[in-house]
Amino acid sequence: MRILVNGNPEEIEPGARLRVLVDRLEARVRDDPMIVALIQKTGKSQLLYILNGTVVRAEEIDRIVLREGDDLRYVHPFFGG
């Protein structure tokens, strides 16, 4: 099934939970020095996920089942001038 990740199509198994996609996305940034620093400091990547315009709470990631056409955005925690 196809969903949108940051506006771009991404294939995922039908019926997959959001956790599957989150793990996939977090693997992509695992070696990033900023993410490494965040994990060292806070224990987490601190990526935030927005599904169909709604911010996903961390405890919901395992529960949410993705559907065809879902629109997922992820936001890094960082902000700078």
Partner: protein, 624 residues
């Protein structure tokens, strides 16, 4: 077209005349508003040969289609004209509420030219325009002048002013509003000074009709709610509303992005521990200070209650404490904040101020400047008192070094000589910002090729691909691997897209910082469409950015830009640091990357837009 008034207010200070002029729809469809509109004004009215302090220079204060809607980030507005630092066209974005008020006065822009016979300020009260005597305001700092104008004119006016640095033509003097936001970098405060213009007050009562009010209202509510929710979902120390841009320190440090000791070091652990983050909030008693409609609230109001640096007012942004702290090896948070606020009152851009001082500190270290030159002040690395005292000397344009540093470090190094040009970290007359090119080579490419305002980190903020993980997925830039920060592959495309992106943001006009709470190009496009009725696609939006970039490039050419200007980068670009993650990294291959960028844009190898490119953009002739 909806969302704009199709008219600008033109004020001639020499003749003391004001007139409203019609602007046709195609101008907005091509260049939107804000910085795009300001560039169009220069194209139409400011011929070759006009320089920054020439009365013929047009100082444009411009809103865009977004001003007047209740969306977080839509209180931004823009300033444009010929810059005293780069002597070419430039733009600068500023916030709070002046742009909204200007729009409510029934105009999309105020275009000021000429030179007053004596100091004046302008009052725009809906249709009524007055040019008033400012003799008693001349010599006041920017905040004092704002207070005086607001006291005189009454409630409801939004005001811009410049301080003594603007009056005295410091080439990086800025314009301030609301004692918190600044049109910085390119010296528009000095353009005000050259026109003997101390301030502008505006008040309006009208609402500009937009294409789809209900759709826009629903969109604003959804976006505002989401941005606030994203920020609130973060741990406290990463909340924009808690810390603002001071968050950057801790996360830029491991990436080698900080400017340290005039860009000669890769690490400064004492500074990282003391500047930014929790120490910022605690030392400065920082509290959020939101702009109109903004939910992310990155500005801070601070108070240092005791000690030599006691003050109450604006808290420094990342760029300010990076350039005035890290770049001078100063780790005293209160001193940096105090000097920053002093600079704000004089109206000096804190990036350039930090850079010219770093140049002077290095001169002092190398014996090129001595105590005789520095009023007896020890310009030694880490000397916070020297920062404060020299800020005053430059703001006052004290005879000697204070005056010279107000010219910027290009001119200062050319006058002082003795090899000091080698450590003047500037391009085209403007000092480089607080993003280290060794941490991501694309920053070097951006500094070299920027057309909108010299080597400006916010007119092509491609550094955020890595340092902020800001992507443009709708335009084909999504997750980028860390190692690519030191690669030229795709750099031309990314650099071009970020230039165009900044142009549509600065012309709509919207706040780029909203993106750090998840504001997207999809949000931007939907907002523009509900305001204007243009029914654009992402391709149309990108094309608009491309058009504005090309117009700015045509203006660069008009005002004397030459190909070699892009290749005269600071010598320091190719000097490696020996510590930190970017140790040993220098942007070798930069020259070819510049040419690749020209080609990607459809320009010739001399960096000039080709006839074919202009034809593709429908710019054989410029509308209006």
């Amino acid at each position: 077209m909806k969302g704009v008034w199709n008219q600008i207010l033109k004020i001639d200070l020499t003749e003391k005349k004001a007139a409203v002029e019609h602007v046709p729809d195609p101008v907005y469809a091509y260049f939107l508003g804000g910085e795009g509109l300001a560039a169009w004004v220069l194209w139409k009215e400011c011929p070759r040969g006009v320089t920054a302090f020439d009365p013929a220079n047009r100082l444009t204060l411009a809103a865009g289609p977004m001003q007047g809607i209740r969306q977080s980030g839509a209180s931004k507005w823009a300033v444009g004209g010929i810059s005293p630092s780069i002597q070419m066209n430039a733009g600068s974005a500023i916030t709070h509420a002046f742009g909204v008020e200007m729009k409510q006065a029934g105009i999309d822009a105020v275009v000021i030219h000429g030179r007053a016979a004596k100091p004046v300020y302008i009052v725009i009260d809906d249709d009524r325009v007055r040019i008033k005597d400012a003799s008693r305001l001349w010599g006041l700092d920017a905040y004092e002048a704002q207070d005086a104008i607001q006291e005189k004119e009454g409630d409801g006016f939004e005001v811009i002013t410049t301080g003594q640095a603007g009056e005295r033509l410091v080439r990086y003097a800025n314009i301030q509003t609301a004692k918190k936001s600044f049109a910085g970098r390119c010296g528009f405060g000095a353009v005000m000074g050259s026109k003997l213009l101390k301030g502008v007050a505006v008040r309006g009562t009208r609402r500009c009709p937009i294409h789809d009010p209900a759709g826009n209202d629903a969109l604003n509510k959804a976006i505002n709610r989401r941005l606030a929710e994203v920020d609130a979902s973060k741990p406290e120390e990463f909340r924009i509303s808690w810390l603002g841009t001071a968050m950057a320190t801790a996360l830029f440090a491991p990436q080698g992005n900080l400017p340290i000791k005039n860009y000669r070091l890769g690490t400064f652990p004492e500074g990282v521990a003391k500047l930014g983050g929790r120490p910022y909030v605690e030392t400065l008693n920082a509290k959020p200070w939101p702009c109109k409609y903004c939910v992310i609230q990155c500005h801070n109001k601070c108070e240092v209650k005791s000690g030599p640096y006691a003050y109450k007012g604006k808290g420094p942004e990342y760029e300010s404490f990076a350039m005035m702290g890290f770049n001078l090896l100063i780790d005293d948070q209160a001193a940096v904040a105090y000097a920053g606020e002093l600079a704000n009152r004089y109206s000096m851009d804190t990036i350039s101020l930090g850079a010219v001082l770093a140049w002077a500190f290095e001169c002092y270290e190398k014996g090129v400047l001595t105590r005789e030159d520095t009023y007896g002040i020890e310009l030694t690395w880490g000397n916070a008192q020297a920062l404060v005292e020299m800020t005053r000397k430059i703001g006052e344009r004290a005879p000697g070094l204070g005056y010279l540093l107000g010219e910027g470090c290009k001119t200062a190094s050319e006058r002082i000589g003795q090899g000091s040009e080698d450590w003047a970290v500037q391009m085209k007359g403007q000092e480089i910002a607080a993003h280290n090119w060794r941490a991501q080579y694309i920053s070097a490419l951006n500094y070299c090729t920027g057309v909108a305002s010299g080597p400006n980190h916010e007119r092509g903020n491609s550094q955020h691909i890595w340092v902020g993980h800001r992507y443009l997925p709708e335009w084909g830039i999504d997750h980028v691997d860390n190692e690519e920060r030191w690669s030229w592959e795709k750099a031309a495309e990314r650099n071009a897209k970020f230039h165009d992106y900044c142009n549509v943001i600065n012309s709509s006009v919207h706040c780029k910082f909203q993106e750090f709470a998840g504001y997207t190009l999809t949000d931007l496009l939907a907002t523009i469409n509900t305001c204007t009725g243009l029914a654009w696609t992402q391709e149309d939006l990108q094309r608009c950015g491309d058009r504005i970039t090309n117009l700015q490039k045509l203006l660069n050419l008009r005002y004397g830009w030459k190909r070699e200007d892009d290749f005269r980068y600071p010598k320091r670009f190719m000097e490696p640091v020996s510590d930190g993650v970017a140790a040993g990294r220098v942007p070798v291959g930069l020259e070819q990357a510049i040419v690749d960028y020209y080609r990607y844009r459809g320009w010739d190898d001399d960096g000039r837009p080709t006839a074919q490119k202009l034809s593709e953009l429908g710019m054989e002739t410029i509308p209006g």
